[in-house]
């Protein structure tokens, strides 16, 4: 990814919502199989954006059994059967999990509540599992898909010391984390630990460090390249009234 020269960047209005969706989409590679699951509106939008914005072909499968679907509208629920509209096959749950565990899933988007410096995730609980302060959604795809997908990418709508932590309250899933996207930063795994790849043009390396609970390398990191016209247009098409952006209610700070 070619980065503009640091410091030169001016773009006051790259929303945290657009930042996360766009940077999730940028993890998608040509001719690969990419999966989005339940509770995953942002990755769903990222996959649909990539289909529109990028000049290459890839296979998008989702938890609704869709295979390269052409939904007549974008559903609020990322597991909505609308996501199989226009699909020529139904590739249901048992099938896509087996695809992943046998090593043929190239890219999986998986949710997380807490993420540590090793790219492990907690989606189970805040506090002790047996008497939780907050009971979270739980295991889901992570424990099986994170270690078996060729690449897994997660996102967090809050970048803070309680979401990007040194120590997880519970290790729900560990293994193949490849990338993490937050409102202000993109991390990728390097030598077994998350390293900063780039930061939101309105943020800075200092801010990312201040708001991150684990240590990380940042060699070669700089401001994230802005959305291309194609990326911006694609997202505008997917969210014409900005409803998803409003519902997501994500802030940089």
């Amino acid at each position: 990814m070619r980065l503009p020269k640091a410091g030169m960047w001016r773009m006051p209005d790259w929303s945290a919502f657009s930042y996360i969706v766009t940077n999730l989409a940028r993890f998608i590679r040509p001719h690969e199989i990419t999966f989005s699951g339940v509770n995953s509106a942002l990755p769903m939008l990222a996959c649909l954006l990539a289909k529109r914005a990028y000049p290459f072909d890839f296979t998008y499968i989702n938890v609704a059994g869709g295979v390269d679907p052409t939904p007549s509208k974008v559903p609020i629920s990322s597991s909505d059967p609308l996501l199989a509209e226009g699909s020529r096959a139904i590739f249901a749950n048992e099938d896509f999990y087996d695809l992943c565990t046998r090593g043929k899933m190239d890219l999986c988007f998986l949710g997380a509540a807490q993420i540590d410096g090793l790219g492990r995730t907690n989606v189970s609980c805040i506090g002790d599992w047996h008497s939780p302060k907050v009971r979270l959604p739980g295991g889901g795809g992570g424990a099986v898909m994170l270690p078996t997908a060729r690449r897994a990418v997660t996102w967090r709508t809050e970048h803070s010391l309680r979401t990007l932590v040194e120590t997880l309250d519970f290790v729900t899933a560990a293994g193949g984390m490849h990338g993490v996207v937050t409102p202000i930063a993109v991390f990728t795994k390097r030598e077994g630990r998350l390293a900063l790849a780039s930061w939101h043009p309105e943020a800075s390396l200092d801010e990312v460090r201040r708001r991150t609970g684990f240590d990380f390398e940042a060699d070669g990191a700089g401001p994230t390249p802005p959305p291309t016209q194609l990326e911006a247009n694609a997202l505008a098409t997917l969210d014409p009234e900005g409803q998803f952006q409003r519902d997501a209610a994500i802030r940089l700070r």
């Binding site: 597991s79 749950n93 424990a143 078996t148 290790v171």
Partner: protein
């Protein structure tokens, strides 16, 4: 079960076959094609101490917790989904110890169900390494006896007493057809001792004969069926109806008699279910 016997009964009679303390596998996923009218009927009948088995429950498990009908759950991921986030009454039930949770990954729950479907005591499952779940659940890993050097986790059999599926269409004889994704319904219908089905409508048996490949569950695996139009409300049943988000918003208001108001607002009346 034998062929051809009349299997279509009212919803109340179907729900009445589930006794207190039963383990119940529930079809669909989150807000989509779940047997929600059946779940509400269990609550109307005051069922207690149930176990719910489902990879991705949401509205159903929250409703059961809110009604105090649930004692145990084996689940992968629990949320209302859409933009509703966590399932509030479920969350409270776990945090206060009202229900006992066995936390799974969706695929480990499925592995346990596959063990039951295949008649073996356990099923290997890929991944899991590095997770705290095995220690939590007492899952054992073994080294491949065939020398690959791989260590693989074995998930113990999960054999629910009941599976309840909501389908688009059934035949008079109890054959089951769904449109769009089957979610986890296939494996649920093969792992439970008894399979119940609710369906939006009856379709002619002839239509099943024309396309038998579309039948997800053959009649002889199904004990009984109820015809419940809009039985997945407030969830979706593709392609017939979408999620009723307003109804779920209303459900989530923590008002006195809120549960009863929600039950009363449901499309299935006391008598609708009679086919």
């Amino acid at each position: 079960m034998s062929a051809g016997t009349a299997k279509i009964i009212p919803l109340q009679e179907l729900a009445a076959r589930v006794v207190d303390g039963s383990s119940l596998a529930v079809g669909g996923s989150f807000l989509h094609r779940g047997p929600f009218a059946f779940i509400r009927e269990l609550i109307r009948q005051g069922r207690k101490n149930l176990e719910l088995v489902k990879q991705s429950p949401g509205y159903d498990i929250d409703l059961l917790c809110r009604a105090g009908a649930l004692a145990r759950a084996r689940a992968g991921i629990v949320a209302m989904e859409g933009n509703f986030g966590l399932a509030p009454w479920y969350r409270r039930a776990v945090e206060t110890g009202q229900i006992r949770l066995e936390e799974h990954a969706c695929a480990t729950l499925t592995a346990g169900l596959r063990a039951a479907a295949a008649g073996v005591p356990f099923m290997p499952c890929g991944g899991i390494h590095g997770s705290d779940l095995p220690a939590l659940n007492g899952w054992r890993a073994i080294l491949d006896p065939y020398g690959s050097g791989q260590t693989v986790y074995l998930i113990p059999r999960i054999a629910p007493e009941f599976a309840v599926i909501h389908a688009n269409e059934v035949s008079e004889e109890g054959d089951v057809r769904v449109y769009g994704t089957s979610h986890w319904d296939r494996i649920l219908s093969r792992s439970a001792a008894r399979v119940f089905v609710t369906a939006d409508r009856i379709a002619p048996s002839a239509s099943f004969r024309v396309q038998p490949e579309l039948t997800l569950i053959p009649h002889f695996l199904v004990e009984a069926v109820s015809i419940v139009p809009n039985g997945a409300w407030p969830g979706s049943c593709w392609p017939s109806y979408e999620v009723d988000y307003a109804a779920i918003e209303a459900y989530l208001v923590d008002a006195r008699d809120g549960l009863q108001a929600h039950l009363d607002a449901a499309p299935e009346g006391r008598n609708v279910a009679h086919a």
